[in-house]
Every structure is written in C-alpha cells, then in structure tokens.
C-alpha cells in the first residue's frame, strides 16, 4: 500500500474495498458508501474530537527537551482533564520516524515537566521507561487553554506537512477526548449523512477516546490498544436496539466503535446507556455480538486494527484483502482509502471469493489507469 501523505480527509478518488457477508470482494468509490446501506440499517460513528495531544517542553530535572504525547485517560468526561497516561520522547519531532526518536531523559516519579504554559508532574512509570502517568497542575479551564494553545495534533513521519487541529477533526467531532483521530469518520461529510438519512438508515454516535496508535517501541506497541474510555448515551442505545430489533444491520464507522459496542454488550449482556473502559482486544477468537459490518481504514498486517478485522472474516479472506490492497495500490494510514467488511454469515463455511484477476503488482501507469476507471464509476469485482 502507499502511505497517504496529504492531509485531505475526503479525496474525491478515495476508494473502498468491499467484502460482503458471502466473501465476495469488489471495490468502489468511497463516496458511494451509502449505496451499501439498506432501509432500517443503523450507522454508528465515534463523535470524539481529537485533542492536540502532543506537547513540547522541558524535563525540569535535566533541562532536556521532550515531547509528551498524551495517550490515554481514565475518564471520558470533559472535566477530567488533569490526569493522563503519556508516552514521552526525547528531542526531535514527527519528521523522525517514531521508532527512531531518541529516548527521553530518565523519568522518575515526582519529576516536573514544563509544557508551554502547562506544568505536569510524573506520578508513576507504567512498566516502561517512556510510558508514564502524569498530572497537570491548575484548573480544568487553564489546562484546556494550555492544550489548545500549546498542543499540536499527534503526527507521524508519513505526512511531511505539519498537521493542524482541523485536519484531525471529523465533520461530526464533538467532545475533544480522543488522542488520535477516529479517522474512519473522515468519510462522513454532511452530504453523506443526508444520503444515509434519505435511504431510511438510522445514524447514532458514541464517544470513544481513541488512543495513541504507535509509541515507537515494539514492547509498548505490543500493548496497544491501551484501555480506552467510552460513553454510550441512552438515545444512542435506544436507537441501536430499535434498529437491531427491526432487522437492521449495525454498521460501525471505525474500530473504536466496534471495540466500545462489543465491550458494552459483553459487560451488560445487551446495549444500554453506559460509560465504560474498553479493555478488550478484538481478533480471530472474538465472536461479534452486535456489530454486523465495519467501515475502516486500510490497515497493515500486524497492527491491532488489522487484527480486529479477523473477527469479521476468516484469515484466508483477510489475506486476500491484504493482497488486493497491496497490488492495487490502495492508500493507507489515516488519510488513506477504506474497507467495508461485513461479518461473514458463517465464518466456518464462507463462500470462496472469485479469484481476482491481477496476480502481479502493477506498475504505476496501470495504477493510474485503474484509478481513472474508478473515477468513471463501474464497480470492479475481484
């Protein structure tokens, strides 16, 4: 896949690889996503806005420059803005690949961090020299002001230009509780939401504090995703129950929605108004209880997001998807193309997908031609 390196949320030629519940694979323009929906379905998205969670400053005891990336919180509530888990880097910035970033100075409980107008204290090391629990000083108002003025969106080296906050907010973004964008929601502009509505499809949102996606350290990355708090309101729970009771499918926009809804159902037995902490890992062994399909980014094998897709389809189909994404030059990362994956009707007895025709990697010229065909509209079956 090609890293999407321009921060455009909805490029007109964004592609969507569709895997239906029978295992058939095809691709289409992502803007046609509403045509995959049926009367009575419900689309559920994560309405968390992304806080500027990367803050540069100084480790007071050593005087060394650091970057603190807020990574998680115990609470989904906006007023709980004092205490965070955080990953700390040494000098440098996003232009250096995360795994090559210098380590921070030795961090100890009680150390003070000066971060713009914010001051934080390290409360605890979390079983790793760069993963800490910190607490900001001041009122919630002064902390929000400090984050708004001195924080920047967490960013990785595949995007050369500096991201602004508006690059990271989905159109439906509300409470600023996510640490990285719930980027599957980039696909949902207001025109798309209107199209969804016109098809008689319901729309609901939950709030899930999407956490950090990479720490630059293999040992820490293996612990991803970290625990993430979420909130499901009564009206969202009611609408989801209603749609499901009347035969509608639940389409999750992004992995965070799957994680939160499946966690809530596993705890309460059914979906209801709740706040919780998603500690679950979703993968091959997971039986999905409430989500029927997912619209998500294109994920690299080995990531937790990729692993989550194996709860929807079997390994063979997942491997086939990976192969198609690779061979057809899909774009990856948060501003990349997307996949729409339905839960197999029967994960043990799924239908063999039609062999796709492109067995070899195609040169760039052909990739461009392929994209031009897509712009003109016809679906491609694999």
């Amino acid at each position: 896949m090609i890293p999407a390196n321009v921060p455009i949320q909805r490029p007109p030629d964004a592609r969507l690889l569709v895997v239906d519940s029978g295992g058939q694979i095809r691709d289409m323009l992502r803007s046609s996503f509403p045509t995959l929906l049926r009367l009575g379905d419900i689309v559920v998205a994560n309405d968390a806005a992304t806080m500027p969670a990367s803050i540069f400053g100084v480790h007071k005891r050593t005087g060394r420059s650091i970057e603190v990336r807020l990574a998680g919180s115990e609470s989904i509530f906006h007023e709980d803005v004092r205490q965070f888990t955080a990953v700390v880097f040494g000098e440098g910035n996003y232009r250096t690949p995360t795994e090559r970033r210098p380590s921070p100075p030795e961090l100890r409980p009680g150390d003070t961090l000066h971060l713009g107008s914010l001051t934080a204290t390290i409360l605890q090391l979390l079983s790793h020299p760069r993963f800490v629990l910190i607490r900001f000083e001041g009122t919630s108002a002064s902390i929000w002001e400090g984050l708004a003025r001195h924080g920047r969106p967490i960013q990785y080296s595949h995007i050369p230009t500096t991201l602004t906050v508006w690059d990271t907010w989905t159109p439906i973004a509300g409470p600023p509780v996510a640490f990285e964008p719930p980027s599957a929601g980039y696909a949902l502009d207001w025109r798309t939401l209107d199209a969804i509505h016109r098809r008689g499809v319901h729309f609901a949102t939950i709030t899930h504090a999407a956490g950090i996606s990479s720490t630059g350290d293999a040992e820490l990355d293996a612990r991803l995703p970290f625990d993430e708090p979420y909130r499901i309101t009564e009206s969202a729970a009611r609408l989801i129950r209603l749609a499901r009771a009347t035969g509608g499918r639940l389409i999750a926009i992004g992995t965070t929605v799957v994680r939160a809804l499946e966690h809530a159902v596993s705890i309460h037995g059914s979906l209801r108004e709740t706040t919780g902490m998603a500690t679950n890992r979703i993968g091959t062994a997971t039986e999905l209880h409430i989500v029927d399909a997912i619209l998500s980014g294109t994920h690299e094998p080995g990531t937790s997001h990729h692993q989550l897709l194996s709860a929807f389809v079997d390994q063979r189909t997942l491997a086939k998807m990976d192969q198609i994404l690779q061979q057809h030059a899909y774009r990856t990362h948060e501003f990349g193309d997307s996949v729409f994956v339905e839960k197999f009707r029967n994960r043990e007895r799924w239908t063999e997908p039609v062999e796709f025709w492109a067995a070899k990697s195609r040169p760039q010229r052909q990739v461009r031609r392929c994209r031009n065909v897509l712009r003109s509209g016809p679906f491609r079956r694999f």
Binding site: A49, H78, A141, E145, W169, G174
Partner: protein, 247 residues
Amino acid sequence: MANGSEEMSKRQELTAWNSIRVAVTGGTSGLGLALVRVLLDRGARVAFIARNRDNVERLMRERMHARGIIGDVSQKGDIYSIAIQILGELGGLDILINNASSLGPVPLAPLADTNCEDFELALQTNVLGPFRLTKALLGALAASAREGGRPLVVNVTSDAAINAYPNWGAYGASKAALHHMSEIWNAELKSQGVQVISWDPGDMDTPSHAVAVPDADSTALKRPTDAARELVSKIANLILPVREATQ
C-alpha cells in the same frame, strides 16, 4: 391561580436552562456582555469568548460560573483553539451566539474611502469567523439534536444588512452576507435538527455604536440588557419544550 401557574412556568424554564450549554462570542462588552449575564441569570452554562485577557478575567471574577475563553474569531488560527475550549469546558454545545462584530473602517467611511484591509476585517469578523466557528462546532450541535435537544445558532445581524446606509458599506455588506448565510445554513441543516437564525437587536447603547455614531443621543437607544432579554426569550421559545407546553 394565574400567578401560581406563571411562577411554575418560570421555575420550569429555569430548570430547563440548567442543562443548556451556550457559547457567546464578543462576550465582554455591549450586547455580548448583557447576553452572558442574562443567560447566567437564567441558569444556563455559558462560555464566552473575547480578545482581551483582562476583560475576560474581569468578567470571570464577576460571574464565577462563566467560562471565559480568550480568542479572536477573525483569526483562522484561533477558531479551533476556541472550539476545543468551548467543548472542553462545556462538554458539548446547544447554542452558539455569533455576536462578535467589526464595524470595518473607524470612523465609518464611504466605500470609496474604505481601505481594503478594513473591509477584509469586517468580512473576517462578521462572516468568515461565524462560518468557521459554526463549522467547527457543528458536530457538537448535531449531537445535541440526536440527544433530543433543539440546537440553535444565532447570528447577530443589523438592519444595515437590509438597508443601504451610506458610510456603513463594509459593515452592511458583511452583515448582509451573514444574514443570507444564516438562511442557507438553516435550510441545509434542517435534516440534522440544527436551527440557524439571524437576529437584529436594533440600535443599542453600546461602545461599538458610540464609535460608529459618536453624536448619537444614547438615551434614545435600546439598552443592551433589554435586547439581551428579548433574544433570550426568543431562544427560549425556539429551544425549550417547556415554553411550548405553557403557551
């Protein structure tokens, strides 16, 4: 009996306002300041935005429950900083009042004598600022509708948006754009349950009016508090179900 029922209706309204989250731009002087005070008196949860830190902090000392945010809506780079703080402080939003305003050239000038930069400032403050802030907060406003609220955006306009007053060119043209933009927003956002209105408070005795018309008889002008009460009553009629029930 009538008094009893009126009192109950007032109590119900106060209770209803307790859950309403409002953001007011230009909240430290004139109409904006009066709106912040009246809304707080009704029990609403209010965040106000203004450029001057001293003025913001002064109002926060006066009204402990008000959440003050320092920012300039005419600056593109300030919009998301403002939005983060509004949503961080209030947790969501039900009403956005785009009240901050620029006269353009001061003293007022005929269009032919208006510097482009002054016209640009009027457009940045009176049109692009409200557009950008509404767009940044639209997710939260639509969420309010999904939760059963009746979210509302109020764009404060002027009769200069309709009538062609000489010397009010930059201001009048920008307010006309704001008025028309409000109507288009409103038509487009109906499906999301978000209402957008423009509202003309009339000529008020405010610092801004004094700058625009230095020799005006201030006693003949509307008091900002009266205009604020009018707007808050209008808002209550539009968003509070209790008002419907008592009418």
